[in-house]
């Protein structure tokens, strides 16, 4: 793909006939070859955005370029594969026949079907009817259909939705595998942990607006850097010491522990000071909650969004 961006939107807006503003002036750029996580709570506008990018919905205002062409145009569709909202197939057809139907619409040779079935590990169940499939198998068939065209751009809407832990792990591994060969993957999720494990960059959407974008580390930095979690007693003595060592705004208490907005490299020196002042330190680690905090902060009270 020659373009710098596999997906690019300018002021993309979708207001439904019911008056609901689902996507609000969205400017999104997904770089070619990256795995981009589209993160937001349920109802934030993720699926609507993906529908707009797939040409299933028409924008109220704004524009988009997907795989180098207008969304929904044959040129764009020929270079992208997508699974939007839910894997939707004919219940009375087998998995293999469903892929034959999809290949038929896309004017693809039937020889493409077996390799993608193998890739998603569905060969053994391909002759069984879709209606007998488990959620995980349905998701994998959805991915297989999206892969049939050998697309440059893959759009996956909540690909681990409804999967059990084993299925989730397998799907994540598959997504990482799909990235090989320079393919761009745009996946939506409401699970922070998922995008953290699979994505190069993340866009956070809330109430239809893109409220943050960057790598996971950039977003962490935006939340005040990677935090240190310190559990120490006595609490008051520890607080006084920490506030004297750091700026007061760098110290906050959550659930009986201190969350310190400092570089993790300071962990050893902070630990030494606490211990030398006779304070017992029972836990000291890098906080894994910082990105989640930012996510909650952005999505519950997004900047520039009211109501």
């Amino acid at each position: 793909m020659a373009q710098a961006f596999a997906v690019e939107t300018h002021g993309l807006t979708k207001r439904y006939s019911t008056g609901v503003l689902a996507v609000d002036n969205l400017d999104l750029r997904v770089r070619t070859g990256e795995v981009y996580g589209f993160l937001g709570p349920n109802g934030a506008g993720k699926t609507t955005t993906l529908r707009l990018l797939s040409g299933l919905l028409r924008p109220t205002t704004g524009s988009a370029t997907v795989a180098g062409a207008a969304p929904g145009s044959p040129a764009s569709l020929a270079r992208m594969g997508a699974m939007v909202e839910t894997p939707a197939f004919y219940p009375y057809l087998s998995g293999r026949d469903n892929l034959r139907v999809v290949a038929g619409y896309a004017s693809l040779p039937k020889s493409r079907i077996e390799p993608v079935l193998k890739q998603v590990d569905l060969t053994d169940r391909a002759r069984h009817k879709f209606k007998t499939y488990s959620t995980g198998m349905k998701q994998r068939l959805g991915v297989a259909a999206a892969l049939l065209k050998g697309p440059d751009l893959l759009i996956l809407d909540e690909p681990t939705s409804g999967l059990d832990p084993q299925g989730t792990i397998e799907m994540r591994a598959l997504i990482k595998e799909l990235k090989q060969g320079g393919r761009t993957v745009l996946l939506s999720s409401h699970l922070l942990n998922e995008v953290e494990l699979t994505c190069d960059r993340v866009g956070v959407i809330a109430k239809g607006k893109l409220v943050a974008e960057g790598t996971v580390d950039e977003l962490r930095a935006r939340s005040g850097g990677i935090a240190l979690l310190v559990r120490a007693t006595p609490l008051d003595q520890a607080r006084r010491l920490l506030e004297s060592l750091l700026k007061p705004e760098q110290v906050r208490v959550e659930a009986g522990a201190f969350v310190l907005s400092v570089d993790p490299s300071q962990a050893a020196s902070i630990n030494r000071r606490l211990v030398s002042d006779g304070i017992d330190v029972s836990e000291l680690r890098i906080s894994e909650q910082s990105l989640e905090d930012l996510f909650l902060q952005l999505t519950e009270n997004p900047p520039g969004v009211t109501g």
């Binding site: 699926t47 299933l56 909202e85 619409y105 065209k149």
Partner: protein
């Protein structure tokens, strides 16, 4: 559009509901229209028979009358079956959300619907052939069992009759497909279509047929126009139940053709413009 047609034909072939519908239609023709009528006329005691002798009534079932018989089936049970067939073929795509799976492949929306309508057209043609063959076979069996003789209609009559049958079936299929796209629900499309067919047009049309204003409206309805077309193929015996046709055969054919085109264009316009998914 050819790619879409190919995909549509695979879906249609493997869908049991389609075969069940065709089975019901053929069973209706063979068992109800021919076998039951033949047994009733043959076996009922002379004391309960009407003014027309059984030997004359039976001629309705013979080859000389198989074209009007199959046309009669086409505009009643055939209309209902094809309406359901058309509605299922489009509305199910919305119910299963497969419409979005289709639309994110390569073809344009027009090509997708064009392929579907082409498949429905071919299927209608094949259903017409099956109905014609079933009626011809049953009429041959009837005359053979009775030991009578009956002349087959001329080739011209058979071809015109086949054309009339396929035209009527195509209109009801297109109507069903249009309702399926408009309602995006198989239940609503089939329910609405059948209520129109059996209550709106058949029942009310029958009750108020002689009311001047209603009569003028009826002249524009597909069922009434189909009756006008069927009237060009009268049975060879005196038909005591026949009603006066409101439209001529020519007008009937023209009106049905207009309906076929209008339902197809409306389906295309809605399918092209409407958002898929979301609220």
């Amino acid at each position: 559009m050819i790619a879409s047609f190919s995909a549509e034909s695979l879906k249609a072939r493997k869908r049991w509901a389609n075969w069940i519908l065709i089975g019901i239609l053929l069973a209706w023709i063979l068992l109800l229209i021919y076998l039951t009528f033949f047994l009733v006329v043959t076996l009922s005691p002379k004391s309960i028979q009407g003014p027309i002798p059984a030997s004359v009534l039976k001629r309705r079932l013979f080859p000389e009358n198989f074209v009007p018989s199959v046309l009669n089936a086409g505009s009643s049970i055939g209309a209902a079956i094809m309406l359901i067939f058309g509605a299922l073929s489009t509305a199910s795509e919305f119910g299963w959300l497969t419409v979005q799976t289709i639309l994110i492949q390569k073809p344009t929306r027009a090509a997708v619907l064009g392929g579907k309508l082409l498949l429905l057209g071919v299927a209608t043609l094949l259903v017409g052939v099956a109905m014609f063959a079933a009626a011809a076979l049953a009429s041959y069996a009837a005359v053979t069992l009775d030991g009578s003789s009956s002349a087959w209609p001329t080739l011209e009559v058979m071809l015109k009759g086949f054309g009339a049958l396929v035209l009527q079936l195509a209109v009801w299929t297109a109507f069903g497909a249009f309702l399926g796209i408009a309602f995006r629900s198989a239940a609503a499309a089939i329910g609405g279509g059948l209520v129109y067919l059996f209550v709106g047009e058949a029942l009310l049309g029958g009750l108020f047929r002689n009311t001047p204003i209603v009569k003028e409206v009826l002249k524009f309805l597909p069922g009434i126009n189909a009756d006008g077309v069927n009237a060009a193929f009268p049975v060879t015996i005196r038909d005591t139940g026949a009603t006066t046709q409101l439209v001529s055969t020519g007008r009937g054919v023209l009106t049905l053709l207009i309906y076929l085109v209008v339902f197809s264009i409306l389906s295309l316009l809605i399918f092209q413009r409407r958002d898929v998914g979301g609220s």
